[in-house]
């Protein structure tokens, strides 16, 4: 890239010709001023800095919890659940929409206003215009994301409290560890956000005045969500640039499920680079002499779309040897995940009920899981998983056992619903320092790593 953030050295001599290109720093400031002058961007900033706080505060005060969202059932227990619930929601809806409204319009708005020629005459470098616009939209998106994190976290800590968080394998994260994990989860979610922003830039350049340019990140995100709910091979799932919106879940197990997370982040960053590069390629080759030509057209579409399809195919092929091509969910993984989580939560229940502590080693918990009542192979997602968990208590010869119905979605997330005995995994309230909470063994969320077990 030839663009630099030069300050006073913008004069370029070409023979006797003196050309003054505007430094990127000034172009960046100009683009920021334009973006911040739009009421839409101002409303977004205010909403991102206030709405999460209000959401967390309201949910924390009402009896029903968003149990369908990961960590939603913990919003009464700890303030750290708030930013995680918001992250789950943001990955599906808020972040794609925010990137659409900022990055998806940053080039198209000049077409709509007919200001390209004015801008080119002022800046005298399409490359610098591109860099300035990309950096300005990235800055605004970062301000919005930081607002979401800060607002939901501060509200959660103030309204609910700085308490331990139960991980997705039932282990307890101290407030300090929870803070680190929450921050890291949001940082990981930045990667797919950047990928969507890059897709927004590409759409804005390639589709010109068309509203599809504005909507592209949201449309792509929606399409990826639909695909993620289908029984596609795990390699394809991980090759989608939005997977890091999901794989941050692995930070809340012990040990952390780093494989899917790192793959998801890497894929997102590759998409960011490729989509931004394609947008740059299309932009600097655009003919600005014809005011009726907004750069869109078949060539722009093929030059923008086909390389991304190629990237998806190549990514899937590269990931497949590591991930396998099945669903990534099998009987052994389910049994291990459920037994481990049960042991951790059993210890928590023991503590909450003021019983004598036992260790996981003493419990020797094990699970026997079947799917569809042995009528189908015990693998893959579904709500027909049934697990019988057994455990041992020191000094008691007979092993205890409990039944759970499991609903496992294609992403590896599951909800375990206790099915007896009611003294163990039925619904009853236990007294905790933060108030009465449902029995931790009654219903709990978990996560199965989709990559093959080491």
């Amino acid at each position: 890239m030839t663009a630099t953030a030069a300050t006073d050295t913008s004069a370029v001599t070409a023979g006797t010709l003196v050309v003054r290109k505007v430094p990127v720093s000034r172009g960046y400031r100009f683009e920021l001023v334009k973006l911040l002058s739009q009421w839409r961007v101002r409303v977004l900033i205010i909403a991102c800095w206030l709405a999460p706080a209000a959401f967390v505060a309201i949910i924390s005060q009402q009896a029903s919890l968003p149990v369908d969202t990961l960590f939603g059932r913990m919003m009464h227990a700890t303030g750290w659940a708030g930013p995680l619930v918001l992250l789950g929601f943001s990955g599906s809806w808020a972040l794609p929409l925010l990137t659409s409204l900022v990055a998806g319009d940053v080039f198209a708005s000049e077409d709509r206003l007919g200001t390209w020629r004015h801008l080119l005459v002022a800046v005298r470098s399409p490359r610098r215009i591109f860099v300035s616009k990309a950096l300005a939209s990235l800055s605004i998106i970062l301000v919005l994301v930081i607002g979401l994190v800060v607002s939901s976290t501060v509200s959660g800590l103030l309204v609910v409290g700085n308490r331990e968080l139960i991980g997705l394998d039932g282990h307890l994260l101290s407030p300090g560890h929870a803070a680190g994990a929450v921050l890291l989860a949001w940082l990981c979610a930045l990667a797919p956000t950047l990928a969507l922003a890059a897709i927004g830039l590409l759409g804005s350049v390639a589709l010109g005045r068309s509203p599809m340019g504005l909507l592209l990140p949201a449309v792509v995100a929606l399409a990826m969500q639909i695909v993620q709910q289908l029984p596609v091979p795990v390699a394809f799932r991980l090759a989608l640039p939005g997977y890091a919106f999901i794989s941050w879940n692995g930070l809340f197990t012990s040990p952390a499920q780093r494989g899917p997370l790192l793959i998801g982040v890497a894929v997102s960053l590759v998409w960011t680079i490729v989509a931004t590069g394609l947008a740059y390629f299309l932009f600097v080759r655009r003919d600005f002499t014809n005011p009726t030509n907004d750069g869109s057209g078949r060539r722009a579409l093929t030059a923008g779309l086909l390389p991304l399809v190629g990237l998806l195919v190549v990514s899937t092929a590269v990931i497949a040897p590591v991930s396998g091509v099945g669903s990534g969910i099998d009987q052994d993984k389910v049994q291990k995940a459920v037994a481990t989580e049960f042991a951790h939560l059993y210890r928590l229940q023991t503590k909450q009920l003021n019983r004598a502590d036992v260790t996981e080693e003493q419990l020797q918990s094990a699970a026997e899981c079947t799917k569809g009542g042995d009528q189908v192979a015990a693998k893959g997602p579904g709500n027909d998983w049934r697990c019988v968990i057994s455990w041992h208590i020191p000094g008691v010869e007979v092993a205890g056992s409990a039944i759970y119905q499991l609903d496992i979605n294609p992403l590896g997330r599951y909800v375990s619903d206790g099915d007896g005995p009611k003294e163990v995994n039925g619904f009853f309230l236990v007294r905790t320092p933060s108030g009465d909470e449902p029995n931790p063994l009654w219903q709990f969320d978990g996560n199965i790593e989709l990559l093959p077990a080491k």
Binding site: V18, V22, R26, L113, G114, T115, R117, V121, F288, N290
Partner: protein, 312 residues
């Protein structure tokens, strides 16, 4: 040392695909000159102005701007400002914010005129803090001119600057352009309004289908031997009609009209015949209250070219 011409173009040719937008255009514009570019739609006016602003580069020919050869796009020297296809303004910002943002973008190029001064020059001080979203076309044109003034240009390029201007706005804009020219700035403007071009410009280039049909002082358009239609308002229309019939080189047109209850005479005449006609009117003590060409020399030339183009 001689001051170089503001614009010197030789054999400029520009294609858009298979369409020839400009075909061997020669052009000279001196510093301090207000130069009009006129021509029918599609004649190549905006393309030519775009080349001068550096938005595109000619496929053939040579172009020098402010004494500097221009060989590639966006490489015009400092001192060139203006707009084509309307000024580039951001509706969510106020007039002042638009100029401030542009001044900050341009940096050290804009130290010569402050924003308030530029706004005042185009007569927009009262609405300086209003959002551009609510501006009329004429106000936008004036703000676009103010934006160009920020750089204190030595060559100002304006595409249809009088579009949407009311009489007050026109007065402001013309005043600014005249002052700029007096200070040595070359102004090139395109317009469909022949009266505006005649009022403002000392020289004009008429483009037709990408070629130069005429380039030079407007006064040269009206040859003394060519006949033009004139409108004559006198104190005694009947006597004036009689004199017109008796004067060699004067032809009475059929479309005599009535203005404010007084008969208006329309005649065709060469300049010498017109002089003779006026002399006789005065001798017979008939007051000449109005004498003006029905169609200006520039407009006549423009219409002739248009007609010629249609015939071709």
């Amino acid at each position: 040392m001689d001051t170089p011409p503001a614009v010197r173009a030789r054999g400029i040719t520009k294609y858009f695909g298979e369409v020839v937008a400009l075909d061997g255009v020669d052009l000279d514009v001196a510093p301090g000159q207000i130069h009009g570019i006129v021509g029918p739609n599609g004649a190549g006016k905006t393309t030519l102005l775009g080349l001068l602003l550096g938005l595109a580069v000619a496929d053939r020919g040579t172009l020098e701007i402010l004494g500097t050869p221009v060989g590639r796009a966006l490489a015009v020297p400092v001192g060139v400002a203006g707009f084509v296809d309307g000024p580039g303004l951001y509706p969510s910002m106020t007039a002042r914010q638009n100029l401030a943002a542009l001044a900050a973008l341009r940096g050290d190029e804009t130290q010569t005129m402050n924003i308030d001064e530029a706004i005042a020059q185009v007569g927009l001080t009262d609405v300086a803090d209003d959002r551009v979203r609510g501006f009329s076309l004429g106000m936008r044109q004036r703000l676009g001119l103010a934006a160009a003034l920020l750089t204190k240009p030595r060559l100002l390029i304006l595409d249809e600057p009088s579009n949407g201007l009311d009489p007050a706005g026109k007065k402001h804009v013309y005043g600014v352009l005249t002052r700029l020219a007096a200070d040595g700035t070359a102004v090139m403007l395109s317009s469909h309004r022949m009266d505006d071009v005649e009022q403002l410009c000392s020289e004009v280039t008429i483009l037709s289908a990408g070629r130069v049909a005429f380039s030079g002082p407007i006064s040269k358009l009206a040859s003394e031997d060519s006949e033009l239609d004139y409108r004559v308002l006198t104190s005694n229309p009947a006597a004036a009609r009689r004199i017109a019939r008796q004067t060699n080189g004067i032809r009475l047109r059929d479309e005599d009209t009535v203005k404010d209850g007084v008969e208006l005479l329309v005649i065709s005449a060469t300049i010498p015949a017109l002089d003779e006609f006026v002399k006789r009117l005065v001798e017979e003590e008939i007051a000449v209250r109005e004498l003006a060409p029905v169609v200006s020399p520039l407009e006549a030339a423009f219409l002739a070219l248009t007609e010629q183009q249609e015939n071709n």
